[in-house]
Symmetry: C2
Subunit: 177 residues, 2 copies
């Protein structure tokens, strides 16, 4: 048997937005180990840049952080939904903006040791006004900051969301190359 082969997968929890599995895998030394893994599916986020070069963020209450946090628009893929379609949908739902141009930026595992979630980041530009329409239990404010202002907020702790930190710094990096 190959190292890291999956020997057995047992679902130990089925919740509203996640399931948890206990997976038994084979180690290189021939022993077995059990890994607890959260299954959640895919997600998309979008870094929208307006005509003045500012990034459009959303601020919303996040219960896990017990705080109102500044983030890039994002959400989970609907069943069968392509990441780009999800990014476009979340952008319009959360900010009311429609992207004339959208392109893949990079992909990441937000919590690679625990969760199978993959997050697809996109860059959006050539924005025009559409219609904001959040879910009934979503209360979202839109805020705009320059990339440099956003970077300052990463290092002073005002931006704490991983995908937003990665996206803003990636945008600054490609702009300076």
């Amino acid at each position: 048997m190959e190292p890291y082969s999956l020997i057995e997968s047992k679902e130990t929890y089925r919740g509203k937005i996640i399931t948890v599995n206990m997976d038994t895998i084979m180690l290189p030394n021939g022993e077995r180990t059990v890994r607890e893994i959260v299954r959640r599916g895919g997600a998309a986020a979008v870094l929208p840049v307006d005509a003045n070069g500012n990034i459009i963020f959303v601020r919303q209450y996040r219960h896990p952080a017990r705080a109102f946090t500044l983030e890039l628009p994002a959400g989970m893929l609907d069943e069968g939904e392509e990441p780009e379609a999800c990014a476009r949908r979340e952008l319009e739902e959360e900010t009311g903006m429609v992207a004339g141009e959208i392109r893949p930026f990079f992909k990441m595992y937000p919590t690679i040791g625990l969760c199978d979630e993959t997050l697809h980041l996109f860059l959006a530009s050539d924005l025009r006004q559409g219609t904001q329409h959040t879910d009934p239990d979503e209360f979202v404010e839109v805020e705009r900051y320059s990339p440099e202002e956003a970077a300052a907020m990463i290092f002073d702790g005002r931006i704490m969301d991983g995908k937003t930190i990665a996206g803003v710094l990636a945008y600054l990096y490609i702009g300076r190359k």
Copy 2:
């Protein structure tokens, strides 16, 4: 009652490394909603820079990604452990290096919509050789790359880990300011 007050918290799963709660909270419109939240505790990661300006990474098998991934050294805080002590411990355990200098870099929530995990990133330098001693079920290889090589690996998909993407790009940003 204040908006977003916690009305009720019910533990629905207790696993090996996580617990899951269903929390009922009050929305601004007076309605109640249930949020599923994964509780995991804190973590620390470290960006170690060697005398040649290269970043020291670890490569290991990550079951959620079904891949051998390149990452900054990191791990969960032990009970009562300070983030800096955890960063120093994980650095030596996983790479065998001891940091002469270590300082806080930034903090992030890797998965802010789902999980209460906070990750504390540190910058380490003035490195000297100690002793690598991984857990019995950890098989870790050490690799070194320049920050620019690492950035290229973010955009071509060879680096997929969120904390590593954020850390590398943050290091490039402060180096160019």
